[in-house]
Symmetry: C2
Amino acid sequence: MNAEPLVTIRRAAEASGVSAKMIRHYEQIGLIRPPVRSEAGYRFYAGADVQTLAFVHRARALGFSLDEIRRLLALWQDRDRPSAEVKALALRHVAALEAKAALLQDMGRTLRHLATHCHGDHRPECPIIDALAGAEGAHPDAAHLDGAEQIGE
Amino acid sequence: MNAEPLVTIRRAAEASGVSAKMIRHYEQIGLIRPPVRSEAGYRFYAGADVQTLAFVHRARALGFSLDEIRRLLALWQDRDRPSAEVKALALRHVAALEAKAALLQDMGRTLRHLATHCHGDHRPECPIIDALAGAEGAHPDAAHLDGAEQIGE
DNA sequence: GCTTGACCTTCCCATGATGGGAATCTCCAT
DNA sequence: ATGGAGATTCCCATCATGGGAAGGTCAAGC
């Protein structure tokens, strides 16, 4: 039984998709366990470590925050986890994603509509600028720009 | 002809929708012109200043970055602007918005689909966790999670 | 006039996730 | 032994925003 192969941070990065810089960061904020170190202080990662990093990478690809991933990792490790908890976390995130997407699409729609009415030639007249300047009634389609109080989540 | 009414930063914030904190910040980064100051150093804003702030606020509500807004403000002030420039800037932004929205929606779709197949009860079996853990073939719907290299823009 | 409270000022720090780069040390192959 | 690749830590930057401290100012009420 030969010992498990240990890899450098670079190899772990390549294998997991997480940059070496981020691997160190995740360790620093306590998202992942510190790996073993050589006498010189070099980090060495076991297969399980790389799996964990790949898990984090996939979760990031789904837009989970590092805090959410912290909970996901705990659930992953918990053999007695109720899948309901995972599902709830996931669906909450889905709702957030969809809300954000809808917001961006609204912005896009509004702006695209304004652009539709802009000649886009050498002349200065421009409904886009007018709408931003708050020209009353210039382009009622963008009326909701006034009073918009929130952009983020 | 009475002088134009000048308002404090708080009033300017209320009238424009931009927080006092941000007004100072926008001034500091050179997005807006410094307003007149009282002898004691208090900022006082004229109507035009408030209009500019409201312009910035509306542009932010459409998701423009402060750098883009810088260009929009310049175009707004430029009486000889070609509307084509405004339109181009706007449409570039629309494309970015739509790309971002599509990305978020993809994430949402993927995750929602995984959640669909999760019982969500007291038992630990969970296709969501399996997909994140990279269980091969566990849920082919999320196969593209592997190799996902980009999240942001 | 003096107190009080609301408002202003500047300055520093924090967020979230990521990257860049410097200075320094270590490993391995020639 | 030397050189180069790669590791370490540390600081700084991004982007837009907010929190809060320490201190100055103004106006209203007594």
